[in-house]
Amino acid sequence: MGNGTSIGRVRGLGSAKGGSHHWLLQRFTAIGNLLLVLWLLASILMLPNLAYATVVEWLSAPIPATAMILLVISTFWHARMGVQVMIEDYVHEHANKFASIAALNLAAFAGAAFGVFCVVRLALGAN
């Protein structure tokens, strides 16, 4: 690897190797988000009202609970990848970039775990 011009430093290294996996997962989770968020919005529109008892009765049933858990996983996964791209575009300093992506991963997994737990708690009747 050369240490002179920019092109000299990257020539011969080949592609970044791991990019297509990220790109594909971004699309797969996007399709999941499209279906699941539209399902959520349609469900909200079709509920007779948004009072506590109405929403809990709806969300506690097996299919809405499963769809909501899938929605939480798909949206948090997609958001984690999208925010990662933003960090990579705007945070150039290595240590700051590492810290930002580490914090992003902690927040994404913690948020998704909390969301899934809340739905499971409701669906298993702890309300």
Binding site: A53, M86, G115, L122
Partner: protein, 125 residues
């Protein structure tokens, strides 16, 4: 260019504000009726019941949260419209100048129209 910027801004807005609201909603539901009523009182307050004289700060927060909730719905529909445009471009279609330009004009307009339609259906039912 505008549609690309909007895609990024709405996407990151949804990641932070949208998912934050989703977790607040699910957390309130899982915490019981009192927590849910508190959630609803903050994010979708009855504007006529706000006490601006004695509670100016919480009244302002409730008003802003209402705008945030509508903004999140606009972000979703706009991100969805430009995201579907991305799917079309991903399969290699729509790169002709005229078609590409038309798509970039339709996507943000569709986002606004769908937002208006969603709230009309929700509030006027």
């Amino acid at each position: 260019m505008l549609v690309s910027i909007l895609h990024r801004v709405t996407g990151n807005g949804l990641a932070f504000a949208g998912l934050g609201l989703l977790l607040w909603w699910l957390g309130a539901l899982a915490s019981g009726a009192a927590a849910y009523d508190s959630f609803a009182g903050w994010v979708w307050a009855d504007l006529s019941s706000l006490n601006w004289g004695e509670e100016p700060v919480s009244s302002l927060v409730k008003l802003v949260l209402k705008i945030v909730v509508i903004g999140i719905s606009w972000s979703f529909f706009t991100h969805m419209a430009s995201g579907i445009r991305h799917f079309v471009l991903d399969i290699g279609a729509g790169f002709e100048l005229g078609v590409n330009r038309l798509g970039s004009i339709i996507a943000p307009i569709l986002g606004v129209l769908l937002t208006a339609a969603f709230w009309a259906l929700l509030l006027l039912r």
